[in-house]
């Protein structure tokens, strides 16, 4: 086992079964055969110590589920997740506590993820209390103030007594970041941390995350649907399509030389903030066809499809150095 990998995700599956609708219950149609959503369907990826892995994909492709699996908010049906070579699914109670200190998550919605009845101080003290980090009140106060300064909520004395409704969206997200970092974690899952924020505030939060990552020696999984943001933040990018990773490589390789047809399509659709650039617009086929039962899930829209693609699903293959693609062509 290589020691440079902080986190290894090996062939992880997470399936959700759909509830049957009213009509199906009445008609007893499809009894016993529940429809299954394969949210994460055999994902293997390694995250090296100190790097930022960007996870991109359209909504509903399983990005967030993968993030939740890593922080153990969900348990996978199959597969292993190793943190520093240790299987996190087989931890006992004490080890789990320690694991949850090391791995933290920043959530998407700063309006929903902070308890409206807790002041900033109480929100931040909670992790310290749960993990029994520091017992003295003065020390806790000091740690919290220091953390708030780190996320540029200055002066901290002014912010600690406020409730979430007294903060703007950007300030709330800063509190979320502070709460995630107060336990000095090693690994952060940032799930679309800026998608709800305005452009001017977004840049601030992104720069801050970059800075904090450097100062705290963090490793990060950065989940986003915006390729431009992913490019700005990450060292490597993984592109996800319906529960599977279809391309994985360094940011520059993915952006400049995409190989998987889905990544190519995705990149051609990203609008460019420069009116003189003159992006070539492509005509996209209709997406109304249902998902193929077997074989490549991108089959219907792919312009390079072969007969093989219809039958078998492709595995990730190293096409160039450190550039992995799951495509049969």
């Amino acid at each position: 086992m290589k020691s440079e990998n902080l986190l290894e995700i090996i062939d992880v599956h997470k399936h959700y079964s759909l509830k049957r609708g009213f009509r199906e219950i009445i008609e007893r149609a499809g009894y016993g055969t529940r429809k299954i959503i394969r949210a994460v369907d055999g994902v293997s990826v390694e995250i090296k110590t100190g790097e930022t892995l960007g996870l991109v994909g359209k909504s509903g492709c399983g990005k967030t589920t993968l993030g939740k699996l890593i922080v153990q908010l969900e348990t996978p049906e199959k597969g292993r997740i190793n943190l520093k070579g240790e299987d996190i699914l087989k931890l006992d109670k004490h080890q789990l506590m320690d694991f949850k200190r090391k791995v933290q998550m920043i959530l998407q919605d700063p309006y929903g993820s902070l308890n409206p009845r807790l002041t900033v101080y109480n929100s931040l003290i909670e992790p310290l209390v749960v993990h029994k980090i520091v017992m003295k009140r003065e020390e806790r106060h000091e740690i919290i103030c220091e953390m708030l300064e780190n996320v540029s909520l200055t002066p901290p004395e002014e912010f600690i007594k406020r409730y979430p409704h007294e903060l703007s969206g950007g300030e709330r997200q800063r509190v979320s970041v502070a709460r995630a970092l107060i336990l000095k974690p090693e690994f952060i899952v940032a799930d679309e941390p800026v998608s709800m924020l305005d452009a001017s505030i977004r840049a601030e939060i992104l720069n801050m995350l970059k800075e904090l990552k450097k100062n705290f020696n963090l490793t990060m999984l950065f989940i986003t649907h915006n390729l431009a943001i992913s490019r700005y933040m990450s060292d490597r990018i993984a592109v996800m399509y319906y529960g599977k990773i279809c391309e994985l490589g360094s940011t520059e390789a993915i952006i400049r030389n995409p190989i998987h047809p889905y990544t190519q399509l995705l990149l051609k659709c990203v609008p460019v903030p420069d009116p003189t650039y003159g992006r070539k617009r492509i005509i996209i086929r209709k997406q109304e066809l249902s998902m193929p039962e077997k074989g490549c899930k991108f089959f219907h829209q792919c312009s390079f499809k072969k007969d093989v693609c219809k039958e078998e699903e492709q595995k990730l293959v190293e096409m160039e150095r450190d550039h992995w693609v799951a495509c049969g062509r």
Partner: protein
């Protein structure tokens, strides 16, 4: 030819005893067939402006003056009945929230038919034919007319809404963040679709967005809005290459791109002002990076920079903003 002209429009919301100045002294024009992009952060009054044009406003709002001239007629002087004839038939809306804009108990096709029957007196089968044709134009199958909204995906609902809003062949369409809820591929499809239909019917469009990359690609002209006021108006290329308002430039530099080298994104410190009793002078001055003493007393007016390019910042005229901005960034680092 100028199709829509807005002059010194003021629309405030009553909130308790105070007024929220959501649209404050806004003037611009929209020519027939052109696309004007309206850019701004959330809460700056973009949507309020759109709602004021067609006067679909909540009860606590009041228009405090100005003119909305559509083909020479003032919409603000029209009665509700007259305006109702205009909405949908001449000026139409594509709204932001496609998920809740369709009536869940009506078949999607019937909703479009309803729009026709409200404005025109034509037989049902002819109306049906028209809906069918437009459904094909927006990329939906004809048979989909008989489906209910819950049977549609998000992108399809948005297409159905576009079809419904175009059904009476309006001259102006106001698209309020038409693609915000979608991923890039669906967004691309919908924008292409709108563009095609625009060319086909010769529509003028006011595209409201907070994403400058979309405006850069789809609009010939753009207007930047900040705290209820327009701060810069001009051709998109001019605003991108030689911006003449510090806010415009700061906004441009806060957007990541997938082309070119990766530059450090700049942010705008501070937050937008409260629109209840905003400060007298320039509203951007507390966050501005070329701020000086005179800003707080500045009278709001649009100053001509060049042909078709106006700014509200007199201090940006003589300086090379881009050079100044880069110097500023370097100092900070």
């Amino acid at each position: 030819m100028t199709l829509l002209e807005i002059r010194n429009l003021k629309m405030y919301y009553q909130l308790g005893n105070s007024l929220v100045r959501a649209v404050d002294d806004v003037s611009f024009t929209l020519d027939s067939g052109e696309t004007l992009g309206l850019i701004g952060e959330s809460g700056c009054g973009k949507s309020s402006l759109a709602f004021t044009i067609v006067r679909v406003l909540p009860p606590n709002s009041k228009i405090f003056g100005g003119q909305i001239l559509y083909e020479g007629k003032d919409l603000l002087k029209m009665s509700d009945d007259e305006l109702r004839q205009l909405r949908g038939a001449e000026i139409s809306n594509i709204c932001q929230n496609s998920m809740s804009a369709l009536n869940p108990v009506l078949k999607v096709g019937n909703m479009a038919m309803e729009t026709i029957s409200a404005h025109e007196n034509i037989p049902r089968d002819k109306a049906k034919l028209r809906v069918e044709n437009l459904f094909v134009d927006v990329g939906l199958e004809k048979s989909r007319m008989n489906n209910y909204p819950h049977e549609f995906s998000g992108g399809m609902k948005q297409r159905a809404i576009i079809a419904t809003s175009l059904i009476c062949y309006p001259k102006i369409i106001i698209a309020d963040e038409p693609t915000t809820a979608f991923d890039v591929i669906v967004q691309e499809q919908i924008l292409q679709n709108i563009k095609e239909l625009q060319n086909k019917f010769g529509l003028a469009m006011l595209l409201i967005s907070h994403d400058i990359s979309i405006v850069a690609e789809t609009c010939e002209r753009m207007a930047v809005m900040y705290a209820g006021r327009l701060v810069e108006v001009g051709r998109t290329v001019d605003l991108f290459t030689k911006p003449h308002h510090p806010y415009t430039l700061a906004l441009l530099r806060s957007f990541p791109s997938i082309i070119g080298e990766i530059k450090k994104l700049s942010s705008i410190p501070g937050k937008p002002p409260n629109l209840i009793n905003p400060s007298k002078g320039c509203r951007f001055s507390p966050r501005c990076w070329i701020h000086n003493k005179l800003c707080d007393e500045l009278k709001y007016e649009m100053i001509k920079v060049e042909e078709e390019h106006y700014t509200s910042c007199p201090f940006a005229l003589n300086n090379d903003l881009i050079e100044l901005f880069d110097e500023n960034m370097e100092k900070k680092n």
